[in-house]
Symmetry: C2
């Protein structure tokens, strides 16, 4: 345990505290049993082969969730630092579920919260159950937002909606992932961006 | 309290028990403080004006969730008996969230679980927190499935995926809601159905 790790675990604990109380010994357990790890760009954080996927709190960087369809990636979500990924994989997979990958888009520094630690926290602290419930609720809300966005019937509406809800993505996330996430061709997204740039400079 | 209500509350309790233990006094509280109500076809169960939306366990019938976009309905989910609706509205709305409606597609018999009762159950029974967590996880999974389905790049793929995961919908849900849910025009869905019918009879 070094000062750097302690400081970083505290970021995670403050994040959890936004969703419920974290008793002192629960915080100590988290500090003792998590560690900070790094992923380079384009590395799989979670693959469908993980039978007991871990949870990861992103300290810095960006990641995406995707499935494969006819040999092509289908980006279903994008997230950046300050969020937990893998939370919703923490349970047995439904038999009809499409295999899910989580991949880094940028180099990522994350806090690894192992499957075993999550189980321990859930078993020992009712507070953890409440925090997970609130986090799941938020993830559900985010999933419904993506569901709404992708159903909008024009490319420009979808791009505008993303800019309203996730303005950080526009300049930061590479075109190919954004286009897949927004359900449009790269050329279409590229054209819309040029149009927006032109209209903002005239 | 009549025998009919008792019998129906037990269906709800058995449903909750699939996700966690229901202590005897928690079951008694549910039996005493829920009631069975009926909605005709095309009635709003939940509208965005509900500041404290209730939860409803559907005993019989079908319902859909939708938002409005440029004066048109956008059906984002469909559900049938044996499921809870409104669960994910149980918390403050996010500021960017699109207003959500829940409407009956068929006449529905439901068990009303008031917002107040949910709060009481969550405050008194850690088991309720766990059950809600598991239900939310399942709802999240369902939302991601819809997210995947709607991103499939051809109408026939989307229809096939729906038939794989929710075979009940195909013959039961009216075309206009199915078409909106599947992100296709009514004419396209109608044509695909005729083609499927022809190929299964030849």
């Amino acid at each position: 345990m070094n000062a750097n790790h302690l400081e970083k675990s505290k970021i995670l604990i403050r994040y959890l505290e936004q969703h419920g109380r974290v008793p002192k010994d629960m915080a100590t357990l988290i500090i003792n049993e998590t560690r900070v790890i790094e992923f380079k760009k384009r590395k799989h954080i979670v693959s469908p082969l993980d039978m007991h996927p871990n949870m990861y709190f992103i300290l810095s960087g960006a990641a995406r969730g995707f499935t494969r369809e006819d040999g092509e990636d289908l980006t279903t979500w994008i997230t950046i630092e300050g969020q937990i990924v893998g939370l919703t994989l923490f349970s047995k997979q439904f038999s009809t579920a499409k295999p899910q990958f989580i991949e880094t888009i940028e180099p990522c520094q994350v806090i690894l919260i192992t499957n075993l630690l999550v189980k321990k926290l859930l078993a020992e602290y009712p507070e953890m159950s409440m925090i997970c419930r609130k986090l799941l609720w938020q993830h559900y809300h985010d999933a419904e937002e993506r569901n709404y966005l992708i159903r909008l019937n024009s490319a420009v509406k979808r791009l505008n909606r993303m800019n309203d809800t996730h303005p950080q993505f526009y300049h930061r996330i590479p075109l190919k992932y954004l286009a897949s996430y927004l359900g449009m061709r790269i050329e279409t997204l590229s054209r819309l961006r040029s149009q927006m740039l032109n209209s903002s400079t005239t």
